[in-house]
């Protein structure tokens, strides 16, 4: 596995449903040990892409390699080495937490210790609880435990914190960081910017089945856009300007203020955040296309 080949390789991936192209030529690679995020609005094609990589859906065209396997052929060895947290999936209502984790451990050739996994996801106190008595957040942690108990090299997390309250999100983030510390490769999808920013080594911003930008979250913020300088002028009116290099502007402003003998109030210099980049990029594509996308994903599920 350490022969330099990426954990995931995607080349010109395309997926059409009934003539609508939900994924239109994606290219990306995920290195071993990397946390990679597919970030985009609902209906961008994130789930379609991940479900192709997981082996749930067939691609229309393109090259896909996951740990060196073609997931479209659904090889059992691949399923032994990946862990999947689906966007929504159920469990037997009358199964106990520890019982479920133990049962799933038995499906894998070299599982982790179930008790350890229960501790990692923070369900110690609920180990004897029936699944039907768990809260939504606790069920999501059970999902994660069941995905991790096979000791996968690669973990897919499809919107792992959607619907969580802020505290639950933070604790889920902690768990995902622990996966990274354990050397796991993680592919996650999210439509939360702060989540991508907090967790991912690299992010691809996806919209309408295409990648609009890709790179480490910090770089995406700094390279694509400019400095924003805001201040209040001599009449107290707020002013704002975007510049590539703020040096000259700042010199001008501070000199003028000194000459007037008045302080320069409300001065701030900010670099664009990933959020600015994201909103900028995703606003450019039309929303009508997005709706078509949703309809197409639903049409696929009906089959």
């Amino acid at each position: 596995m350490s022969d330099g080949a990426p954990a995931i390789l995607v080349r010109d991936l395309r997926k059409s449903y009934d003539g609508h192209e939900a994924v239109r030529g994606l290219d990306f690679e995920v290195a071993h040990g990397e946390v990679f995020g597919l970030l985009g609005p609902n209906g961008a094609g994130k789930t379609t892409t991940v479900e192709i990589l997981e082996g749930f859906r067939e691609r229309t065209s393109g090259i896909v390699s996951v740990l060196g396997f073609d997931p479209g052929e659904r090889p059992r060895e691949l399923r032994e080495r990946i862990g999947i947290v689906l966007q929504s999936c159920g469990i037997y209502r009358h199964i106990r937490v520890a019982e479920a984790v133990r049962h799933f451990a038995g499906l894998y050739p070299a599982p982790r210790d179930p008790d350890e996994v229960i501790a990692i996801v923070g369900l110690d106190a609920k180990r004897d609880a029936l699944a039907r008595t768990l809260s939504g957040g606790q069920l999501r942690r059970l999902d994660l435990a069941l995905a991790l108990v096979g000791d996968p090299e690669l973990v897919f997390l499809d919107e792992p914190t959607t619907g969580f309250d802020p505290a639950a999100r933070r604790s889920a983030w902690e768990t995902i960081r622990r996966l990274q510390e354990l050397g796991k490769t993680v592919l996650l999808t999210t439509h939360y910017l702060d989540e991508a920013q907090a967790l991912c080594d690299r992010v691809a911003i996806v919209k309408d089945g295409r990648i609009l930008a890709e790179g480490p979250p910090a770089e995406l913020g700094s390279t694509a856009a400019r400095y924003r300088v805001t201040w209040s002028d001599e009449h107290g009116e707020p002013q704002s300007r975007e510049v590539d290099d703020p040096t000259a502007l700042l010199h001008q402003l501070t000199s003028a203020a000194l000459a007037r003998g008045k302080p320069l109030s409300d001065l701030s210099v900010t670099r664009p955040t990933l959020e600015d980049v994201y909103l900028d990029l995703t606003a450019q594509a039309g929303d009508a296309a997005e709706q078509g996308e949703n309809a197409a994903e639903q049409a696929e599920e009906v089959r």
Binding site: C89, L107, E297
Partner: protein, 249 residues
């Protein structure tokens, strides 16, 4: 772990899940007993009619524990995303389904034992005339109705609809198939419909085993009809199989 061991593990889990909902388990076993008690009282020891009712209710039990139970269970598992989750694990589909169907088959055999014991102890019908015929027709009935039940789950749109869908098949079928009276007493056109469907043939076999003592030679047409239905059930069960619910996303 080999696939057989995985199937066995899944089977044991399904058994635990079945008993962990104890009232549901209790009522599913009590249903045939209630029918037996009711008709036993109604017929008050009319031997000729009891010899119709006991194998009839045995056949009803085989169908209820397999067709009804699996059609609704598979719909539930599909709707809830359990099937999709299992598909993402290394567990082979065959081992998973073997565990689920094995659970239903166990319930069918337990109910047959209950009916046989009730026939012997409460209705004085004696022990089965032919144990081999009993086992073979219970197995065939299980295979037939289990495969049709899985196939039928493909047409049930969601779990909430599953009771209505299974009853629209189950209730008319038990009435025309001679569960409660001699199938030869029904009008010819209903008799023909019933004969084209599998339940009559399961009951014929169970009746031979429990009452008449007819051998496999006399039951050749029943064996043939059940084989055809089982093959069709397996074909449609596999062909229409869907791992995820239609309402997802």
């Amino acid at each position: 772990m080999g696939d057989m061991a995985l199937a066995w593990r899944q089977y044991r889990l399904e058994r635990r899940m079945f008993w962990r909902n104890p009232t549901a388990a209790f009522f599913s076993f009590v249903l045939p007993l209630i029918f037996l008690v009711l008709f036993g009282a109604l017929l008050s020891g009319d031997r000729e009619n009891l010899e119709i009712i006991v194998p009839g209710i045995a056949g009803l039990s085989v169908m209820a524990t397999t067709f009804n139970a699996l059609a609704s269970q598979m719909t539930f598992l599909r709707d809830q995303g359990v099937l999709k989750r299992m598909r993402g694990t290394p567990l082979p589909a065959n081992a998973y389904l073997a565990g689920i169907i094995g659970n239903a088959a166990t319930n069918a055999f337990v109910q047959i034992i209950i009916v046989v014991l009730a026939g012997r102890l409460a209705f004085d019908l004696g022990w089965p005339k032919d144990w081999l015929v009993l086992v073979v027709f219970t197995l065939l009935g299980v295979a037939c109705f289990a495969s049709i039940g899985v196939a039928f789950s493909h047409v049930i749109p969601n779990f909430e609809a599953s009771a209505a869908y299974t009853n629209i098949v189950f209730l008319p079928l038990i009435f025309i198939s001679g569960v409660f009276y001699d199938v030869n007493d029904v009008p010819a056109f209903l008799h023909d419909i019933a004969n084209a469907l599998p339940l009559v043939h399961v009951i014929d076999g169970l009746s031979a085993a429990l009452v008449t003592g007819a051998d496999f030679g006399d039951l050749a047409s029943d064996l043939g009809a059940l084989a055809v239905w089982t093959a069709a059930g397996i074909f449609f069960a596999v062909r229409g199989f869907s791992w995820s619910g239609s309402r997802e996303e």
